[in-house]
Amino acid sequence: MTEHGPGGDERGLESAADLYENAPCGYLSTLPEGTIVRVNQTFLNWTGFRREDLVGRRRFQDLLSVGGRIYHETHFAPLLRMQGQVREIAAEIACPDGRRLPVLINSSIRFAADGTPQSVRTTVFDATDRRRYEQELLRVQNQATTSERRVRLLRSAAERMASASTVAEVVSALEAVVLEGLPAAARATVIGLDGEEPPDGARGEHPPPGRAGAIEVPLVVADRAVGLLTVALSPAGALDDDDMDLLGALVLQAAPAVERARLYEDAVEQGRRAALSARIISALIQVPTVRERARLLEQLGIPELADAVDVVLVDDRAPGPEEIASLARLAMVDGAAAGPPRRLEGGIDRVALRLSVGPDPLGAIVLSRIVPRRFAADELGFLGELAERAAFALGNARLLERERSIAHTLQAALLAGERPRDPRFDVATLYQPADRHLDVGGDWSDVFALGRNRVGLVVGDVVGRGIDAASAMGQLRSATRAVAGFQVGPARVIERLDGFVESLPSARMATVVYAEIDLDARTVTYACAGHLPPALLTSDGDARLLWDGRSTPLGLPPDAGPRSEGHATTARGDSLILYTDGLVERRGEVIDAGLDRLLAALIRCRDEPPPRLLEIVTGELRADLPDNDDICALCLRLETG
């Protein structure tokens, strides 16, 4: 150094030593494994280390922060060894006074002639400002990335949720978006809640702070939790503030979407229920009796209403297992005071609904579901309405049954007149009500003596059914006996009945076949007012229809002339058969086919006595008819003796 002072000579040229010591960067020389052998003043000034504490005592990597030391061992040193040099590695020097000095480090290896590393030269630049700038850049970049990712994710979440129409779709959209948006999330699951209080007092927009393992975030709409999102974190995962904000925003979007989808589903569900209810009720009224309707209700209720359905009627002799019977009794007593009686035991959820029209209970319907399928609160209302409608259908059937029972009693009384007993003939009548009708029909038959040698036979059919028709039939039957006096004859009897029905409108359009048999001459005189022809079964095994004496139904006398009548001759052992159309008519078939079938059947059982003959023929002809009609038939056989 000269009198010009440290740092240079008069020409401004610097000495090498000064340049080294006071260069604008730190200089260090180390052995290959890091031990510091030389360090310049700049480095000491920046860091506050004393030269004697470093040289020969410390290795360069020991001056770094712990994180930087690991980085040095795992990246810097290997790279330096493999490449011979490393440049611009960011690190922090841990200064003796506790400061961290951000630096950029360049190192290069000085190799010996044989290629083995001899020493390492390292320059260190103060990177405080640059680090601050970099960190700012990083922060901004992270923010930009985060916010771009957020915006993209939120937009895609909004789209997916808007196109989701069911709660399940909203839920799966939310689950997918959460997994997509939070790399730390291993699993996301949402369970639907039904307007319950948010759990753990967590309400409002902000999810609870993150914790390891899993976090739970309620989906809240107007202080009601409509769902609960659980995010399970992957083993090394954690959520930062940005993640929590994102989660909060997603949940804010999802909650109203869940609510909307639930309302939509409710509307769909209500439509489905209305259709189900209509289907069940319209099926019920297709069958006639209370008991049949009850059994059908049990069948139709599965599986939509419940896994098992029991309808217990008040007059049921076998009300099923004890628990069902007791629930049903409760329902019939309690009504709907505090909701229908309900029990949950043995893994079965049971609810009993009263079936009643007005104050009188008809019975109860007990619905059973196997847990986990259970009755929801909003379903009970629907089931109650359905029970009301079903009760109405059952009540109607009960009213009809009562009416039918009255009408049948009446009809039986009307048809139960004395039959004449005479050794010269054998007579039988048969009445068989239709299977499908609850109410009585207007068919009737009658046999009566007309003096000593004649017998009158009649079979008729009043239009319509029920008590009206039965009573008209009764009056017409009495009228026939009254007007069929001695020597009147079939045509005149029909004409008198024409007069009678003028005062009995419900008997108009009735059809009648009326025949008189002369027991001595064995001749038959007959008239058919709109009725099917009588059949004659001869003792030698022939059968034919008597087609004469035909005219219009009662109350519609022919325009010109009297009612006509026909005549036939018979022999001993011959049988005359009168019948109503229920015996021969079949839907979708011409009447001739039925008549042929009748004649064939008569021939086959010609040897049977009249009561048995009627039974067999009726049985054969109606055997396979599901929609059969009432049958009334009469058979008179002239005795052979």
């Binding site: 690991i70 061992e73 990246h75 611009e88 960190q135 090394a236």
Partner: protein
């Protein structure tokens, strides 16, 4: 899936030699072994590879779930052994790969016949009565270091190295190793590595084991190497003069010799 392509598996050496597999640790790729592995080519079938996410491995095969713990990396090893149908192999693992080797040897004792653990640590963070050498805050510091250096790696570093016309292989190497390392994957591997705890697995190792302990290794200190040696029954502990955490780079002669001594003493 092509396992060899996925893990950039390189097989050299004697085809009929006893297989020796070299696994790189956290930070770099299989080139870390380039001063040591070739020395075994005359006598062994030499296998090197990259873990998924590093070096020349197929980065698209990186599944965050699979590699969320050491198990995923262990699976890499097991699949490679299976694919190459290696039996009784000598597995040489550096740093975290040493523990991956321990886990693999427990699961496939027939495939791995001997273990060489270079700078192993079963747990990096101190625990009650256990000195791993680091606190949880230290690991955060490492992650911050990684973060701040990716700016340098991706932007400034590569062109500088590329500009070395006299040693073009360096540029190539850098690109293959560091530049291909996705920051998120590196960060994930750092977490998995430094938060792992495999202490409970050590006693389950039955293969003959060599523990190579470096001098002044801040990452795996002497006490940690001693711990590993104590907890693997019958293991051999050898102290190397090599300083730092990468003896295979800083002292390849010494490292290779130690491995060779151990291997020659193995029962055939």
């Amino acid at each position: 899936m092509d396992i060899c392509r996925r893990n950039n598996v390189v097989v050299t050496g004697r085809e009929d030699g006893r297989p020796i597999v070299f696994a790189h640790g956290f930070g770099c790729d299989q080139t870390m072994w380039r001063f040591v592995a070739p020395r075994f080519a005359d006598t062994h079938r030499v296998v090197t590879f990259d873990f998924v996410g590093f070096g020349g491995a197929d980065i698209s095969a990186h599944d965050p779930d699979r590699y969320a713990s050491l198990d995923g990396y262990t699976l890499d090893v097991l699949e490679i052994l299976e694919e190459l149908d290696l039996n009784d192999a000598i597995f040489v693992g550096h740093s975290v790969a040493a523990m991956i080797g321990v886990l693999a040897a427990i699961r496939a004792p027939d495939r791995i016949g001997a273990l060489v653990l270079v700078g192993p640590s079963p747990r990096y963070i101190d625990d009650d009565g256990y000195v791993g050498g680091f606190s949880a805050e230290d690991i955060d510091g490492l992650l911050a270091s990684l973060e701040s250096n990716y700016l340098g790696w991706s932007g400034a570093m590569a062109p500088v190295i590329m500009g070395n016309p006299d040693r073009p292989e360096l540029g190539e190497e850098l690109t293959n190793s560091f530049c291909r390392t996705d920051p998120a994957i590196a960060r994930n591997f750092a977490r998995v590595t430094f938060l792992s705890d495999s202490r409970g697995d050590l006693p389950r190792v039955s293969a003959p084991t060599l523990v190579l302990q470096c001098s002044d290794d801040v990452i795996a200190q002497d006490a940690v190497g001693a711990y590993v040696h104590e907890h693997i029954a019958g293991s051999t502990l050898v102290h190397l003069d090599a300083v730092g955490h990468c003896p295979h780079l800083s002292s390849p002669d010494e490292t290779a010799a130690a491995i060779r001594d151990f291997v020659s003493a193995l029962p055939q």
